[in-house]
């Protein structure tokens, strides 16, 4: 088969067998308008939600928003670029302490504080990424694990600067007076966190669909092939780490805005492991997976606590039941849905569409189009 024939055959195989069925709502195809309109729609939905929510739920919305930022960053690193990180809790700590120091000591306004938290964590990401680009698989896991455990101990070592075990307490942000005196602080915090998360979403969604996203994926799938195609593998890996660390820093800054506290107790190894868990549970490789991961990280603890409270059990069993349910949930999702929640959603919508198409074709007396 000549090259031209082969190209034609490949093109024919790649081309859809027929035009996709018209959808009611169709997003624009250009990346930037598409992502902006998506973000605007989500923003309006979140705004309406926050108005309907109680202060407690507003706080959970804010928590979910900063988890999303951290998870989306980790998604770029692990899902798109194939680098594992067990140390993102430490990078969140970098952002959080930067924000806490700038708010508490320097009295900076909110936006520069969040930008600074992002930038400082990104700078740390350069160093970590340069190390990480040399390491693979379990060696990278080991190094980032040591980072997760080692870096927060600086806060204990220098209590003068970082407040030691108790951490740094900062004043919460004040809602503008134009919103009225009775405007709940939690709602204002959730607005800040959600707006930041949406901005991060638009930037990351553009990155993922653009040239850098493709390069990240090429490096993940085959380093040698990527290198032959002219990509600088190490540079792409470091760049992915910088993006990811900057997201973790922004998430840490938002955490301080929401909780008014940066303390070592918030950045334990469990946080780093929870972030990795959230990314894999949500579904590696897409930002939608990060949304699922954030929802799981926020809702699962409440749900397991509710289950434990609803049962009449003795002290030790009751105290440990939420943890046991969490462990069982992790194992069950991985065994039942290896692609995570987003993978399961995608598989079930594909199945539903096939069923629908099959029913339509059968009604028209035609053979169902075969799946390529």
């Amino acid at each position: 088969m000549s090259t031209r024939e082969r190209t034609r055959a490949v093109r024919a195989a790649e081309a859809p067998a027929e035009a996709p069925p018209p959808r009611v709502l169709r997003l624009p195809q250009w990346t930037l308008p598409r992502n902006l309109s998506l973000a605007a729609a989500i923003g309006v939905a979140l705004w309406l939600l926050s108005l309907a929510f109680t202060p407690f739920n507003d706080l959970r919305l804010a928590t979910g928003a900063y988890y999303f930022v951290a998870l989306a960053g980790l998604m770029v690193l692990t899902g798109l670029n194939g680098q594992i990180s067990l140390g993102h809790g430490a990078l969140m700590a970098v952002g959080a302490y930067t924000a806490a120091l700038l708010i508490g000591r320097e009295h900076w306004p909110l936006v520069p504080v969040l930008v600074a938290a992002t930038v400082v964590a990104g700078l740390v990401g350069i160093a970590v990424g340069a190390v990480a680009a040399r390491l693979r698989g379990p060696y990278l896991a080991g190094a980032t694990l040591a980072l997760a455990v080692g870096l927060p101990s600086l806060a204990d070592r220098y209590p003068g600067a970082f407040g030691g075990e108790n951490g740094l307490v900062v004043p919460p942000p004040t809602p503008p007076a134009s919103l009225g005196d009775t405007f709940p602080l939690e709602r204002w915090q959730s607005w800040i966190a959600c707006l930041a998360a949406l901005i991060a979403f638009v930037l990351l969604a553009n990155l993922v669909r653009g040239r850098y996203g493709r390069s990240f994926r090429a490096v993940r799938d085959d380093e040698v092939a990527a290198q032959l195609a002219g990509l600088d593998v190490a540079r792409m890996q470091v760049f992915a780490f910088i993006v990811s660390a900057a997201c973790a820093g922004l998430a840490g800054g938002l955490l301080v805005v929401v909780t008014s506290l940066a303390a070592p107790g918030a950045f334990t190894l469990s946080l780093s492991l929870a972030l990795l868990t959230g990314v894999v549970l949500g579904g590696l490789g897409s930002l939608a997976g990060a949304v699922w991961g954030a929802i799981v990280l926020v809702l699962l603890p409440t749900w397991t606590n509710d289950v434990a409270d609803s049962l009449s059990l003795s002290g030790d069993v009751k105290a440990n039941l939420p943890l046991a349910l969490y462990g069982i949930f992790l194992i069950a999702v991985m065994l039942a849905a290896p692609g995570g929640i987003q993978g399961a959603v995608r598989a079930s919508t594909a199945w539903g569409r096939r069923r629908l198409n099959g029913a339509q074709s059968a009604a028209q007396g035609k053979r169902a189009p075969s799946e390529e």
Partner: protein, 292 residues
């Protein structure tokens, strides 16, 4: 000078425990290419079982043997039931399954034995040897730790290098397809590998429990340092696990003694990065050409 000696001896005995954990993690890595975070939970549970057996029977050595046997059985069950479905799949899925198992085991231990750490008896006296007028920071229990881990490492080496079962184990890990064509029951060998690794892990739990106490979360740092030691020495090399454990144990002991215990975790990060920058696959892994 005597302080330096004490710190060195302490470092050796702590390093041997990290080496035991590193050995067990390395065995599982070689057999199934999975980093087993559940190891910390598995040897925590076996040590609790030993504690219960010792409390009810009064015999330390009965509890010791029961813990090792339980470790062997738990390792086999975990591989067969939970790990087999994710073997060969995306590597992160297996990691999440072992993390889920770690959390589940810690919760179960909390339910059965309670969350308050309890003491665990040592096999031998923990009073330091006396040389001249000086009390060494090294006790018969520490000596037992060093000897036990070195003996287990030697036994494993003999098993893997000089028995037919060892040959089958190595073949299954090295080239599963070829081994299967030669008539090796690869699945069983993987189960056996996990069982042996869990046995070595439960030894580490028994040895470390007298000094860190026994509770659902007390072994977490041991797991972290054991993993660090395994990465330091090279996950593919059993001698690397022992040397990695020793290096880490000594470094952490000196840092804790001379610079303060708050810096221990930071020191482990610095040591690990320093080594990995020179040898990205650990000290003892032979350089391997990456497959094109």
């Amino acid at each position: 000078m005597s302080r330096f000696l004490d710190l060195t001896l302490n470092g050796v005995s702590a390093g041997m425990i990290y080496a035991a954990v590193a050995l067990s993690l390395g065995m599982i890595w070689r057999a199934t290419r999975i980093v087993n975070f559940a190891q910390g939970g598995m040897f925590m549970v076996t040590t609790f079982i030993a504690s219960s057996v010792i409390a009810s029977s009064g015999s330390y050595w009965l509890g010791f043997v029961v813990a090792l046997v339980c470790g062997f059985v738990i390792g086999a069950i975990v591989e067969r039931v939970l790990i087999r479905p994710v073997e060969g799949g995306p590597p992160l899925n297996a990691v999440i399954v072992t993390l889920g198992l770690l959390i589940l085991l810690q919760a179960l231990a909390g339910m059965i034995w309670g969350g308050t750490p309890r003491s665990f008896p040592p096999a031998f006296s923990i009073r330091g040897y006396v040389v001249g007028w000086h009390h060494l920071g090294f006790s018969p229990q520490d000596l037992f730790t060093v000897v036990a881990v070195l003996a287990v490492a030697a036994l494993l080496w003999a098993l893997f290098q000089h028995t037919e079962a060892g040959l089958r184990l190595r073949a299954s890990a090295f080239a599963p397809m070829v081994a299967r064509l030669q008539g090796v029951r690869v699945g069983r060998m993987l189960t056996l590998g996990w069982a042996l690794a869990a046995l070595v892990g439960s030894l580490a739990g028994l040895l470390v429990a007298p000094s860190v106490f026994l509770g659902p979360n007390n072994f977490d740092p041991i797991l972290v340092f054991g993993f660090t030691a395994a990465v330091l020495g090279g996950l593919d090399s059993p001698p690397g696990a022992v040397v990695g454990g020793l290096i880490l144990g000594l470094c952490l002991s000196y840092v804790a003694g001379y610079a303060g215990s708050a810096l221990v975790t930071l020191a482990s990060l610095v040591v690990l990065i320093a080594v990995l920058m020179v040898r990205p696959s650990g000290l003892f892994t032979r350089a391997r050409v990456r497959r094109v």
